[in-house]
């Protein structure tokens, strides 16, 4: 199968859906001629013109509000938010307006809108351009949240998101745009709420999102050499969450580490770990561990930044402790 970059996969998904459905359009800062700073959307304006690939002023609340209105009145907008960190600017449009219109109108209105943005540290982009804020939006009922872990997922999830009648937020890891993966030529969609078991194992389950899936797989490689068999599961969407697959895996392995690049406290890892605790408690042979980014603003210093996020080595070290039956405590 041909291999393409995550960036090309997103581009293909959007182009295919724009060809299929004339109500789909994209807008955001630098999306047209510039094709975004990461070059993800290059070529779209040439094919679809400036009426459907719209450069906006630098006013995130303005153009996200515009998208909510367009979605309510029959269009299917894709909004490009240049950095995930700018979500703070659009919280009202996203969480108060987009997320609640369907409910508050008694089902008369819906908001089929996609907000595509990014996440991920270790790009030396400093504290205001390196955050992974998926927990903020996953907290709000009415929003779906997808986190592709490769080019294959990026394409399939984007197409599903565009066709969904509800607001969907997609977080792409900005370090993975140039990562290649096999992506079929023919059309496919990835349904929401269906986890992907990337690797089967018997001793411990790693539940990992986005780029942390690669981290978990590398950790599993390290552990395999030591006789520890790790299962790696990518939930693919954190809302809706494929709880059944996660619980089934943990019932089998009886140990789990949840890995996500958002800050560890009050985060995605905490939510998933908590559900495992509630629903697989009597099958756990060790506490469920969370591994997220350190609870600090992301440092600009490369040496410091690199230690704030989970790595294959730190995941493997924690897995060893759990499998050895070590006492895990606050210290």
């Amino acid at each position: 199968m041909r291999e393409i970059t995550l960036s090309q996969a997103v581009n293909e998904a959007i182009a295919e859906e724009m060809r299929r459905d004339p109500t789909v359009f994209i807008m955001g800062e630098d999306v047209a001629e510039a094709g975004t700073p990461f070059k993800v959307l290059s070529g779209l304006v040439e094919e679809f013109g400036t009426a459907r690939v719209i450069d906006t002023p630098i006013s995130e609340p303005g153009f996200v509000g515009l998208a909510v209105g367009a979605a309510m009145t029959g269009a299917r907008p894709i909004v490009d938010l240049m950095f995930g960190d700018f979500i703070y600017l659009v919280m009202d449009q996203l969480c108060n307006q987009a997320a609640k219109q369907h409910y508050m109108s008694g089902g008369k209105l819906s908001v089929p809108m996609v907000l595509r943005t990014n996440m991920g540290a270790t790009r030396r982009s400093a504290a205001q351009h390196s955050q992974s804020l998926q927990a903020l939006v996953a907290h709000i009922p009415g929003l779906k949240v997808a986190m592709p872990s490769s080019a294959y997922e990026a394409k399939g999830l984007m197409k599903t998101a565009i066709r969904d009648n509800n607001p969907v937020v997609i977080f792409e890891d900005k370090l993975m745009y140039q990562d290649k993966a096999p992506v079929p030529e023919e059309e496919y969609l990835i349904p929401f709420g269906v986890a992907n078991i990337k690797r089967t194992g018997t001793d411990i389950t790693f539940i990992a999102t986005s780029s942390m899936v690669q981290v978990a797989e590398k950790a599993a490689d390290i552990l395999a050499k030591e006789g520890i068999s790790a299962e790696v599961i990518d939930p693919r969407t954190i809302v809706p969450l494929d709880e059944a697959t996660l619980i089934e895996s943990v019932r089998k392995t009886s140990r789990a580490i949840v890995i996500d690049e958002g800050h560890q406290s009050y985060g995605v890892t905490a939510e998933i770990a908590s559900r495992l605790n509630e629903k697989a408690f009597y099958h756990l042979d060790a506490p469920v561990l969370r591994m997220g980014a350190m609870d600090v603003p992301v440092p600009f210093s490369p040496a410091l930044e690199d230690v704030t996020v989970p790595t294959p080595e730190t995941v493997a070290a924690n897995a060893r402790r759990l499998c050895a039956g070590e006492m895990i405590d606050a210290a």
């Binding site: 960036s7 745009y177 009597y282 042979d285 070290a317 060893r320 050895a324 039956g325």
Partner: protein
Amino acid sequence: MPRDVTMPQLGMAQDAGKIVAWLKAPGDAVTKGDALFEVETDKATMEVEAQASGYLTGVTAGEGEDVPVGAVIAQISDSADDNAKIQQLTVIKDEKDELPIGNSVTMPQLGMAQDTGLLVNWLKSPGDAVTADDLLFEVETDKSTMEVSAGFDGYLAATLAEAGQEVPVGAHVAIISAEKPDNPVTRSVASPPPSKPAAETPAAAPTKAPPKPATPVPVPTGGRILTSPKARRLAREQGLDLALLVKAGHPQPFHVADLDALRAISEKTQMPTATAAAMSLTAGIASDGFADFAPWAAANGLTDADALLAGLAGASLTAPCVVAIARFGQQHSYAVPADRSLSAITQTDSAADLILRDLRGTALRSVTLGAADVPVLTLMSAAQGLTITLECTPAQLDAPAAIQLLTTFADRMEHPLHHLL
């Protein structure tokens, strides 16, 4: 000291840049801020400034070449003729006091699994002139002792470890300078190399179950047994007593893997007390209601009194089931249907789920015969009414189920009509 010149990242999606032109020639004097070379990315062509003053040396990338972001393409050195190969020239900085400039000698890796080497002794003294082939120091690994040569011509300007010290593989051990040093530096390894976690060294034979830490740390438990939820559940399901592990001094917290040890202990300690573990419950009822019920039922077409007895017992267990009636050494089994209908009970040869031992016609007033393969109910005459005993093991019926069975059956024997209602 030389400073590396690297390909900068000029755009967010850029992973390489093309060198359009060098604006300085090798050997040229450069001042910090001078335009050094021109780079073309997909966005623009930009001039890149020198980040230090000195002389441009060691240029490794020519005009027109695509160079990955971060790659070293030249150096800015202190002298124009300093064209030493980039990799060989390693400069060690230290906050405490300046080390001499020169080539560094590192602790070699002599074995596949080796992560430190013991520096046995120095074969040269600080300040000595050395040639590349001269033996510099002796290293002992877990396998053998070997001599390591200097690798560079010059003077032993610094020794960074003392004889007798363990030095991590790859750590700097010595510096060989080109000039004779005025004050050769002698140091020791600042702190012992961190002992790597055992799991990081490849195990000789990987085992399925990860080993327990060799010396488990005793954990204060305050009387509570620290056990994983799964181990606690399995122990309960398998009738294992975790307290036996505590008594045996097994380190807590307990996990599923520890249940093997518990099973071994349990088998040893439980053998002689197997029968004592059986449960025995006794109920008394004031009148044998069944004795009056049987003739009435016979008049209504239900002539087999033992089938009725089996029906009342079976209905108290979980129907459908098979109940054996044992009397005077004879045993007949009856199948009790799911709807517990007394008229639908049939004789069967299937294995019994419950034995009803009828001792009403005997002089026996109390029995403790121990558990059998299935729960056993025993009927005995009392001074007034009946005594009913249930004997079983916890594996057959847990305590609440045993109590439930005996109470319901006793009620049915006293008031058989309750069953019909």
